[in-house]
Symmetry: C3
Subunit: 190 residues, 3 copies
């Protein structure tokens, strides 16, 4: 199954709107810090941030619906639930920045696993792992190139936070489910 | 469907017993503070607090069962779960008082959304919104009349906490489900 | 139903591997502290810690499958979910050590109740209560005999933390479910 342009646009907008909420949490809690640049800023995020999150959401959603049939019985309730789970997890990474990084990483890995157990299926694991590898890899390059950096308390994974792969995994699970919802809403275009 | 007096009394007692636990959390964490008054105090709460929470629980439960048929398949497990979800959310508002209010508000909104996704239905949204509007409105008047106030870190919404509507929303969802449980237990009085 | 030796060994290994993660959280956050002894240490835990947690996991799992038939429809997703729920709860007890012990205890009791509501059944309550009584009782003796102690902020229950029974209850619920999973995987040996 492939997503319509309308469906992809919906996923892009969702990611582009919700992503900066999490980014703002990281900035106000001192978890991450952007370096000055010539790029226009929206809220606390440079313009590329919502674009990248929106594109990643649409791409992961499109990958999900290509991997396997959409689960029947999913509705907007599951979409709200999985987005809320990711935001709760995101909020913990910011609010609890500066506490034991080991304990915080266990907490975030646990939250990611719970998010999958509540909302994910097998193909969602593929999307979660792609996000968990690709996201932190891109961010590691971002810190090396001085776009931003992580607080000293949260930079133990090659410059990014040890909990970052788990947070991205939860994001990938959410994007997969949102892809299913969007596919289920647009006609029967199997 | 209407609730029996016994059912309403059960909801009142539940609210009146559990509410002060949350209130005590807010007082001991310095999230809220009561001004001295002539009203007798139970624990940390003035006598009117458990009465108001009990009445609100019974009223929202009664409204829920008037709005739509009770869901089949609900049992005490769901009642325990939804009450626990509200207490967990309540505890976060107190324990994390003084951290970033933006991040904390996102956390509490996320917890409220998860609580609905796990336990609510459409009519529960009506009860949640009524609580989310009425509760903070009443509390804003309470701060204006110097009954109590919120900590400086948590008074950004006309004197009350920005996360307060979300906490009340979760409470409304819980009261709605408890109303369903109570209605389901008392005879078949459709 | 009885568990095979292979099943019991699996439960033992799970408990022995995951338990020390939680123990490490408590040590690095200063929630608990071991006194020096002649016992070899693995990570932060004396050698007996993983052994005791592994044995308790296997024993509770074996008790569960003797109490009642295994629920159909359980799979590895539920196992991952319930273990994650316990680790999240464990992480909160460590990260939030030193905040209001009343609020933290409400949080942990709420998390334990949610864990049961999401993953438990009636026999899991029996396992949960056995763990909630036996675990803290053993730990109280452990503090009296100077094997370890709890931080001043978390020693209000005869020397151990007031939230400890709730954390053990969640552990008991998890061990019960893992017992069911292990029993379901090994042949049809009713």
């Amino acid at each position: 199954m492939t997503l319509s342009w309308k469906g992809l646009a919906g996923l892009f907008v969702l990611g582009a709107v919700i992503g900066p909420i999490g980014d703002h949490i990281h900035v106000v809690t001192g978890t991450t810090r952007y370096y000055d640049s010539w790029v226009p800023v929206i809220g606390d995020s440079p313009l590329w941030f919502p674009l990248v999150v929106g594109l990643a959401t649409a791409a992961l959603g499109a990958i999900r619906v290509r991997l396997a049939p959409v689960r029947p019985g999913l509705d907007v309730r599951h979409g709200i639930g999985v987005v809320a789970a990711v935001l709760v997890t995101y909020a913990f990474t910011g609010i609890l920045n500066g506490t034991s990084i080991f304990a915080l990483t266990v907490l975030i890995v646990g939250m990611a696993a719970l998010t999958w157990a509540a909302f994910g299926d097998d193909p969602a694991i593929v999307c979660g792992v792609m996000a968990a590898v690709g996201g932190p890899a891109a961010e590691i390059i971002g810190t090396w190139t001085n776009l931003f950096d992580y607080a000293d308390s949260s930079d133990g994974l090659l410059g990014v936070a040890p909990w970052l792969p788990a947070l991205y995994f939860a994001f990938g699970v959410a994007a997969a489910l949102l892809g299913e919802l969007v596919a289920g809403r647009s006609a029967v275009s199997e």
